[in-house]
């Protein structure tokens, strides 16, 4: 007994025992859950089987980038849902960043009225639930906007109505794909060039891209939305659900990001602003050349997590019926009864989205930090 007590005092052994206990506990819990799941499935004459995703999906949803139609496989439906999620996330991230920079600058502006208004706006959007804002924007769009015949014209050929937003778009032709591929290859190749040559490399890639496009392109035809019957035909159209989702995500998330950017800008030492002023730089120049590059390093980690939370928040789309990933799995569950498999797919996809974003932003962060360190 005494020997045992002596041994327990050795930190190494103690750590080992604790870790084994924790591992056994977690393993036991997982095995218990796994046993329950398989037992419950067996009782319903089901097994875990991802084979169903090759089967035909019969539901339809309006808009998707990958061209899914009822009758295609469930894999394709999930891909369409994922594409919609990514689309919302990308558009949202872009617009959020723009709005957040504007709000942050307003908040820091010497004009007290502008600063106050920005403060009020930010407080209001940050302190109400995103879901509430989303429902509000959705109702506003479908109830308050006129029908397509009296659509609001925002810009030439850009119409907003209760059927959504339509934009003119260039007709797709093979030259676009070719040019995009050349550009991507060129930019990737340029990344491997030594730093001094990189700018020239990118320029060369751009030139080649333009040449390819010029050589291969048929005359560019713009597809313009036109009112035919009860709705617009042609052009690029977005449903009211998409527009509501993007507006809600952008308005909500920009409030948070504006505060992050503001604290990043304020986090740059005051001496830097004074030094810039004493060099005779204007406020705009000082911001662009001195403050922003340094603030960028402070704000990248929090902004990354805000981009991620925007992506995850886009799952609220399911509430207004926008066909994102969550919605697809929900409909698939009700069509096939494969709840376990669908939720596993859902969790894995979101986890990998988070992981990919985190890895990309971390490497970007490291580069920025390294550049600052090498000064």
């Amino acid at each position: 007994m005494g020997a045992l007590r002596e041994a327990w005092k050795r930190p190494g052994l103690r750590a080992l025992v604790w870790q084994c206990a924790a591992a056994l506990l977690v393993l036991g819990l997982l095995l218990w859950i796994w046993g329950n799941v398989t037992g419950n499935l067996a009782r319903r004459n089901l097994g875990i089987d991802f084979g169903f995703i090759a089967g035909q999906a019969s539901f339809e949803f309006g808009e998707n980038l990958v061209g899914y139609r009822p009758g295609d496989s469930f894999v394709w439906a999930f891909a369409a849902g994922l594409a919609n999620t990514v689309q919302v996330a990308l558009v949202g991230i872009l617009l959020t960043t723009v709005l957040a920079v504007m709000l942050a600058l307003m908040r820091l502006s010497p004009n007290r009225l502008a600063a106050r208004i920005a403060w009020l706006w930010i407080e209001a959007v940050r302190n109400t639930p995103l879901l509430l804002q989303l429902l509000f924007w959705h109702q506003l769009l479908i109830r308050q906007l006129p029908g397509p015949r009296q659509a609001l014209q925002l810009l030439p050929d850009v119409f907003l109505s209760n059927r959504g937003l339509v934009l003119p778009v260039a007709e797709m032709q093979p030259a676009f794909t070719a040019a995009a591929l050349v550009l991507a290859a060129g930019v990737i190749a340029a990344c491997f060039l030594p730093r001094g040559l990189r700018r020239n490399g990118v320029l060369a890639a751009l030139t080649v891209t333009l040449l390819v496009f010029w050589a291969g392109a048929a005359p560019i035809e713009i597809s313009r939305p036109e009112l035919r019957g009860f709705n617009f035909q042609g052009g690029l159209s977005f449903s009211p659900e998409f527009v509501a989702l993007v507006i809600a995500l952008v308005v909500y998330q920009a409030g948070f990001m504006a505060e992050t950017l503001r604290s990043g800008i304020l986090g740059v030492a005051r001496g830097q602003t004074e030094a810039a002023a004493s060099l005779g730089l204007r406020r705009a120049q000082a911001l662009r050349l001195v403050i922003f590059p340094q603030a960028l390093r402070i704000v990248i980690p929090p902004v990354t997590s805000q981009y991620l939370s925007l992506t995850k928040n886009s799952s609220l789309a399911v509430v207004i019926g926008y066909p994102d990933l969550v919605r697809v799995s929900q409909v698939t569950i009700s069509e096939t009864g494969r709840a376990v498999e669908c939720i596993i797919i859902l969790l894995l996809v979101y986890l990998s989205l988070s992981l990919v974003t985190a890895v990309l932003m971390n490497s970007y962060n490291r580069r920025i930090m390294a550049r600052g360190g090498a000064r």
Binding site: A22, A23, P129
Partner: protein, 349 residues
């Protein structure tokens, strides 16, 4: 005069911006006044009568505010959730006031008050005792439900989060890995997916015959979810503790738990109170997601309040009403968090 116009008209571009903003404000204000006062309807029995005047339909709120605040809770019994909510708010306010933290006597009184208050609130809500009719969980709703989901969820999450944060920074690689895995998993998935999981998958995850009300399952999901975020906040606090504190505790002969409970955690938690309050604000807003599993929290009740034919089609009034409630609670909490931050002197020490 200068105090009010200072910074507004001191240069030409500034003056232009100011005038533009004033013009926008004027228009927004006039539009709002027109909608909320001039063309508003105070006595109407249907949405149509309101629509004829084209302004706000305050008659709807006068008719439906109790449904929005208390959800499907039996109408004649709604004084019970109201009283429970009042007790809860008084207790929270008393606990949140920093002067009450100093004297041991007051701390003991607070502990006793919570000890008596929690069962009292439970009895008030659930009934079945002292002649109060029993009210099943599925009829709970509105603001009390929102408050309960958020505060109970965060309270449970806190306990788990402290353990996770300690595991996340401890020296044992396996435990650290498990904690990292937990935290990253729950931070990587959207809350909605988790709510679906507990709503749809729960019967598969437990032995047959186990049942649990959907409200408690949602409560559990919130606790597990917020624990991951709180653990990261607490980790920040733990890492800000100077190594000397650990060494000092060790040199006094304290073991791991003794050192952490007496020396490390009190300091670490003190510095992260503001970020924990912020997580609570996020939780308070995020509980509105229970709408997707068709529960009637504040937002769900607002949605349901226009389901009846006579009020069908209204949406600005109920949403504005609940938005004001959320706004009031959240801005009060964030003002508190900022005040606390100043008081604790985080980042200044």
């Amino acid at each position: 005069m200068r105090r009010w116009t200072g910074g507004l008209f001191d240069s030409v571009p500034n003056a232009v911006v100011s005038l533009l903003l004033l013009w926008l404000l004027w228009h927004a204000g006039v539009g709002f006044w027109d909608w909320a006062v001039t063309r508003a309807t105070l006595d109407a029995t249907t949405a149509e009568q309101c629509a004829r005047r084209g302004g706000a339909c305050w008659a709807f709120l006068a008719d439906r505010w109790r449904l929005i605040l208390f959800g499907p809770y039996p109408y004649t019994q709604q004084w019970r959730p109201a009283l429970a909510l009042a007790i809860f708010l008084v207790l929270v306010a008393a606990t949140a006031a920093p002067p009450n933290w100093k004297k041991p006597g007051r701390i003991r009184a607070l502990g006793l008050a919570w000890f008596a208050g929690l069962p009292a609130m439970g009895v008030l809500m659930a009934g079945g005792l002292f002649g109060l009719p029993a009210v099943p969980l599925r009829l709970w709703g509105g603001l009390p439900l929102t408050m309960m989901l958020a505060s109970l969820g965060v309270a449970l999450a806190f306990v788990l989060a402290v353990l996770l944060a300690l595991g996340r920074v401890c020296a044992m690689p396996l435990i650290r890995m498990l904690c990292i895995f937990y935290i990253e998993f729950f931070r990587g998935v959207p809350l909605i997916a988790l709510l679906f999981l507990v709503a749809v998958l729960f019967p598969y995850l437990v032995p047959p015959g186990w049942t649990m009300d959907i409200l408690l399952r949602a409560q559990l999901a919130f606790a597990l979810f917020f624990a991951a975020y709180m653990a990261e906040a607490i980790r920040g606090g733990l890492q800000a503790i100077p190594a000397g504190q650990y060494l000092a505790a060790a040199s006094l002969g304290m073991g791991y738990w003794q050192a952490h409970v007496r020396i490390i955690l009190p300091q670490a938690l003190r510095t992260v109170i503001p970020s924990l309050v912020n997580i609570f604000i996020a939780a308070f807003k995020d509980t509105s997601l229970v709408v997707v599993i068709s529960m009637m929290d504040l937002l769900g009740a607002a949605n349901a309040s226009t389901a009846e034919a006579k009020w069908w089609g209204l949406y600005i009034e109920p949403y504005l009403f609940v938005a004001m409630i959320y706004l009031a609670f959240c801005s009060a909490m964030s003002a508190y968090s900022r005040a606390l931050e100043r008081r604790l002197g985080v980042g200044v020490r």
